[in-house]
């Protein structure tokens, strides 16, 4: 009897508990980062601006996963499916129905929120690795669903859809890439602020209570089922918006763009950025975008192996990802100030 109780108590939580204040950056640092993000396109080539846009977009998708895993403690390897739904929603609305690109984002978000919420229902019965497997199934199924014959008039089948890139409005004197970057930046900041506030709100506290101990949370009167599915819905919704932005930036959607590899990349980005640390999402996104390029630069034939080694180093040296680096550098800075 006592042994059983002990087992329940000592069982390690799936995700390490992160206090909610440690989930964000201080005001000063936030402003500096924001300033850099705003000023940077003025000094960069269009290609670099495009890469930075992709960085923000994948950052959003990683952030969404971070809310789910870091916030409510649920795993998902199926984020690529929601990303695909968002991308296709935006592409189809823009190309087949002539809807303005900015309007397609909230539609993609709402649709994916619904899809995520519904998927969260059966996911309630699963936990840990079983949930990861169920979402994995979703990710493998999605590219094939997009190829289905009867959807072809809308999705373009395997050929995919080409999306027209929007020009800067009001005759603003900036390139399409720069405009899209600022547009993405505004959306990203809005969603980031929303996420930070969500996690600080009553719902956020409920997510974290569930993450830390489900039984205790339900004993406290938290509707575990509701909040778990809600976390899924919010995460899917944000991923959908990221997917829609991605479709506009890349100007092309095809089933093969949204395979399980994308889902694993996002998962990787979350771990490297630091699970449960929202600003780390951007760092994680930078890792999944730039490190494969660096690996390719080192050796073309062994790029996969080089990437593996780099990833291994990161996990070995800083297991908590970018958050750990931030904490350490903050401590160093503190010491420096005292001296």
């Amino acid at each position: 009897m006592s042994a059983a109780i002990e087992e329940v108590v000592t069982e390690a939580p799936a995700v390490e508990a992160v206090p909610k204040r440690a989930m964000t950056l201080g005001a000063g640092t936030s402003l500096v980062v924001l300033g850099l993000l705003v000023a940077f396109p003025l000094f960069a080539k269009n290609f670099i601006i495009f890469q930075m846009t992709m960085l923000l977009i994948y950052g959003l998708a990683v952030l969404a996963l971070n809310i789910l895993t870091g916030g409510s403690g649920q795993f998902s390897l199926g984020q690529s499916a929601f990303y695909a739904v968002g991308a296709y929603t935006s592409a189809i609305l823009m190309e087949q129905y002539g809807v303005n690109y900015a309007l397609t984002l909230p539609i993609a978000g709402v649709l994916c929120f619904g899809a995520g919420f519904l998927f969260g229902q059966p996911a309630l019965r699963l936990s840990g690795v079983y949930l990861a497997l169920a979402t994995f199934a979703l990710a493998t199924a999605m590219p094939q669903l997009l190829k289905l014959n009867f959807l072809e008039p809308w999705t373009g089948g395997v050929q995919g859809l080409v999306v027209t890139k929007p020009d800067a409005p009001f005759g603003l004197p900036m390139s399409q890439d720069m405009w899209l970057y600022y547009f993405t930046l505004v959306v990203t900041i809005a969603i980031y602020l929303f996420s930070v506030n969500l996690l600080r709100s009553r719902s956020g506290r409920a997510f974290m209570a569930i993450r830390d101990n489900e039984i205790a949370a339900s004993a406290m009167g938290i509707d575990v089922a509701l909040y778990k599915t809600l976390a899924f819905g919010v995460s899917a919704g944000i991923t959908g918006v990221a997917g829609a932005l991605g479709a506009i930036a890349v100007q092309f959607v095809a089933p093969d763009s949204y395979t399980i590899t994308l889902a694993i990349s996002l998962f990787l980005g979350m771990v490297v950025g630091g699970v449960g640390w929202l600003p780390g999402s951007i760092v994680g996104s930078a890792f999944i975008i730039f490190v494969p390029n660096i690996a390719e630069g080192i050796s073309k034939g062994l790029s996969g192996a080089v990437f593996g080694v780099l990833l291994f180093l990161v996990i070995f040296l800083v297991p908590h990802g970018a958050r750990q680096i931030a904490v350490v550098s903050q401590q160093l800075l503190g010491k420096f100030k005292k001296n």
């Binding site: 080539k45 269009n46 290609f47 670099i48 495009f50 890469q51 992709m54 094939q144 190829k147 014959n149 089948g157 395997v158 050929q159 995919g160 080409v162 991605g246 890349v250 100007q251 092309f252 095809a254 093969d256 763009s257 395979t259 590899t261 390719e296 073309k300 034939g301 790029s303 996969g304």
Partner: protein
């Protein structure tokens, strides 16, 4: 006074002369200089289609050979090849990197229909040649809407036209059953077959499509046999082509069996399906087969083997991708030589669209590359072949697809 005039006249004459020659001499766009031509390329070195990465490696080796032999009109080729892992968004990123960061003159032989579809609009808007794309889709031959995109190998439709031509001539009363893969490859092909048969499209009495996710296609074949067809056209990728050959033997159905060129590999399809089951199967080819001893004394193939020995010892002559990369790279070098000192992107496209009877070393004798401002399909000839013993035997004339323009 006189002297001054004379000097002035002389000066203008000299200026006129030098500027005249300067105009005729050198014109460059981004990516070309007096010493270098920068060529971009995108290949799936990783991911599901990584077997095709060999094409990029062969091309790199071929350009090394050209550089070692003095380059093109004194300019060395700098070949920048990136990995897209067969992922369209990655292809867009790499294409933009090539154009905006590496500043290449042309993007040459990027591989895969999805990847090329993803970058086509961008490259055409930027007016950067998307030259000799490595895919068999028919849509690359569209000079009106996409004047900066050109294919290289025969399109799926071209190949299907040729089978149609053969059937109309040799078996005008054929009852055709078609099995096709339900994707862009299969549909492109089927359309080509119907267009090729034209008024006689009613010869096709049954069509069955399969998904690549199906574990077995036996059911479709039994169904096709029941229709009483006497010609079976297998528009399939290697795994399914082999299954079909086996199943036909199993149910004792012996129609005239045509296999698409995609699945004509002896090692990848015929051998696993069994040589005894494959006798008499028909297909078509445009390139020489490294495994076929009849090319041992062929001068073009000798050059190819010398190249492999000296510049690409890892390359396997039996691998169709090596033969392919060699031919594509040779065609690009030919175009760049034709450009002379006018290395602008517009001139590269102009020269690529004026190839006349060019014969790369690795194409079948008699197959010639011809292009024009309204014809962006370089190779549109194939020769029929029949499987006999343990190899393909070419037979009949080189057939030209005259429908593709």
């Amino acid at each position: 006074m006189y002297r001054q005039l004379r000097i002035a006249a002389l000066a203008t004459a000299v200026i006129g002369l030098t500027s005249g020659t300067a105009l005729a001499q050198k014109k460059y766009d981004t990516g070309a200089t007096d010493t270098e031509i920068k060529i971009g390329n995108i290949m799936p070195y990783s991911g599901p289609a990584s077997a095709y990465g060999v094409i990029g490696k062969t091309e790199q080796a071929y350009f090394n050979k050209i550089n070692a032999e003095g380059g093109i009109n004194g300019r060395k080729i700098n070949f920048v090849s990136y990995d897209d892992g067969y992922s369209p968004p990655k292809a867009v990123e790499q294409a933009r990197k090539l154009v905006e960061s590496d500043e290449v003159l042309v993007v040459f032989n990027p591989l895969g229909t999805p990847s090329n579809s993803a970058i086509q609009k961008y490259l055409n808007a930027k007016k950067v040649p998307q030259l000799f794309v490595a895919t068999g889709a028919t849509k690359w031959n569209d000079p009106k809407d996409f004047p900066w995109t050109m294919g290289w190998q025969p399109s799926y439709q071209s190949e299907a036209h040729i089978y149609a031509k053969y059937l109309i001539k040799e078996k005008p009363d054929a009852k055709i059953a078609v099995l096709f893969q339900n994707d862009d490859f299969g549909k492109d092909y089927l359309k080509g077959l119907k267009d090729g048969l034209g008024a006689k499209a009613s010869m096709i009495m049954a069509e069955e499509s399969y998904e690549t996710t199906e574990p077995s296609i036996d059911g479709h074949i039994v169904k096709l046999k029941a229709t009483g067809a006497d010609v079976f056209i297998s528009i399939t990728t290697p795994k399914f082509a082999a299954q079909a050959i086996k199943k036909l033997a199993e149910i004792d159905w012996h129609p005239l069996h045509i296999v698409s060129n995609v699945s004509a590999s002896v090692g990848g399809v015929i051998k696993p399906a069994g040589f005894e089951n494959s006798q008499g199967i028909l297909s078509a080819a445009y390139a020489k087969d490294g495994a076929d001893p009849q090319w041992d004394d062929d001068p073009g193939m000798k050059k190819f083997l010398d190249f492999l020995a000296k510049y690409y010892p890892d390359g396997n002559k039996l691998d169709g991708s090596v033969v392919y990369g060699y031919g594509a790279a040779q065609t690009l070098v030919k175009v760049l030589q034709m450009c002379g000192d006018d290395l602008t992107r517009a001139n590269v496209m102009k020269q690529a669209a004026s190839l006349k009877d060019f014969e790369p070393d690795t194409l079948l004798p008699g197959i010639k590359i011809n292009t024009s401002p309204t014809d962006f399909a370089p190779i549109k000839q194939l020769q029929m072949m029949r499987f006999k013993g343990e190899k393909w035997d070419l037979f009949g004339p080189i057939i030209t697809d005259d429908l593709s323009n």
